[in-house]
Symmetry: C3
Subunit: 224 residues, 3 copies
Amino acid sequence: MGRVTHLLDPAVQHWLDIVGIFVFAISGALLAVRKNFDVFGMAVLAEVTGLGGGLFRDVVIGAVPPAAFTDAGYFHAPLIATVLVFFLHPHVERINKAINVFDAAGLGLFCVAGTVKAHEYGLGLFASAVLGLATAAGGGVLRDVLANEVPSLLRWDRDLYAVPAIAGATVTALLLGAGALNAVTMLSAATLAFVVRLLALRFGWRAPRAWHRRSTVEDPEPGA
Amino acid sequence: MGRVTHLLDPAVQHWLDIVGIFVFAISGALLAVRKNFDVFGMAVLAEVTGLGGGLFRDVVIGAVPPAAFTDAGYFHAPLIATVLVFFLHPHVERINKAINVFDAAGLGLFCVAGTVKAHEYGLGLFASAVLGLATAAGGGVLRDVLANEVPSLLRWDRDLYAVPAIAGATVTALLLGAGALNAVTMLSAATLAFVVRLLALRFGWRAPRAWHRRSTVEDPEPGA
Amino acid sequence: MGRVTHLLDPAVQHWLDIVGIFVFAISGALLAVRKNFDVFGMAVLAEVTGLGGGLFRDVVIGAVPPAAFTDAGYFHAPLIATVLVFFLHPHVERINKAINVFDAAGLGLFCVAGTVKAHEYGLGLFASAVLGLATAAGGGVLRDVLANEVPSLLRWDRDLYAVPAIAGATVTALLLGAGALNAVTMLSAATLAFVVRLLALRFGWRAPRAWHRRSTVEDPEPGA
């Protein structure tokens, strides 16, 4: 969602943003179907998932009104995702693995774009990377909170999601600090996050939990 | 909550805002009682329900500090609602149908006032209508999230709530675009949302869910 | 988190802020362990608990980018809390009573600092006190929402939390109004909130619930 006008061709960046928003929105609409929401609930959850992370970033850095409300394309992409899921839900579910690949691409694009935009608004490198992570992961957290579920991001029994975004945002911040950010290195950072996320999905990578937890049971549905 | 100074007499608009906040706050305080919260939990939920939608809109359009923090009346109305529900809870529950009517009135007033205020702050017609919807429905969503419930707005088994607000906000945006917004047309748009909501309540109108959902069971408590 | 530069030595105030953030973050990390989150979930919950209240206040008063993103110390304190809880979890749980004392200290510091910062940004005394309460209690509410629990703040079966913060924020606002706020009176207000909270914990003070509730059962786990 961050418009990074100077580094990529603006039109290219805009379409990358739209694609990222669209794929995130698909995950929101699918969760809405699983929760038995109606079509308006699907649209709200799709919008929140697609735009929530960027909206949070823009409010925090003072970029108001946020891009989500000034670019109609950003708002319409989740509506198209809602229509698709509404009519083709079983087919969309069936290609869930393909969606995970697109979601990983969105994660990569957003953690880089979020970091760059925060830096453009004057935040330090470290804070910019944090906001890059928030841009990439925020929409999914809001999606889960609205659906009254424990956010996937926090759960131990889900494959790594924060780590790829942290990797991409950190590399972007380092490149910004070194003055070496350009279209090529930026896409490399996004690709890094993308690949790490795919590897985490492929091999079921998980993060450790606190040492010496008292419960010895390996509960099958932790955090639920 | 939006102050629409030029179209209605400011004092009239102010009192309409207060009434809307107050009625929304009643629904927050009532939910707090059902959730067994204490009196402070009631007050927090009443404030959030009454002011949350307008607060979200104001932060997004950059109208800070938000009206909720600059007009003491806006803040006190939910406290009065809390006191009423605290002492007269069974009586308030008994007039639940009457409250639904007032809530529908609040919905109508807020979707119009929210659209107009967003437009005054420079947003496009489409984005303004979206923020009108957010102003009208946002407080209820925050109320349900804080109470750890699935938001009514999203649930299939609740009567239409988004549609009346969308209708009112869309008509308001069209009137703004046509330069035809005045006190009469504005109240007409609010009345449209109000009436559609009452009809949805009266006839149990609901929105469709996604086609071809796998589950064939008509679960009595979906989304819960 | 509010920097109250003129009243206390800035370095002293800064360290008080860090301590408050750190102690709040401990409570977030501990809840994450109880919810079986992984180490990144712990870090997210620690950050949200430590910084959420101040972040909300700063966005509302227009102090963007918020202090949470401009002072690296504010961001690192919750990470240190996460590492501590990660490795020493059972020991940290064991000193839970000590943590409650620190949390009460954080409550006292934040309700005062939040009130003062809001007033510095031009809000009225009443609104400033409300934001002082939001600064002190907001992080805990966000923590519980992200963990998919009913916020402690709202629950009847938890010892008073809002009242001490309201007391501290109100006294601070009155002192501001009387032009009598200085380092001594400010710390007195914080101490008042601190002591009231400790007394509430010690004697199990609770707030009343609505009169004439229908249920006659004294349910052991209300609101859960």
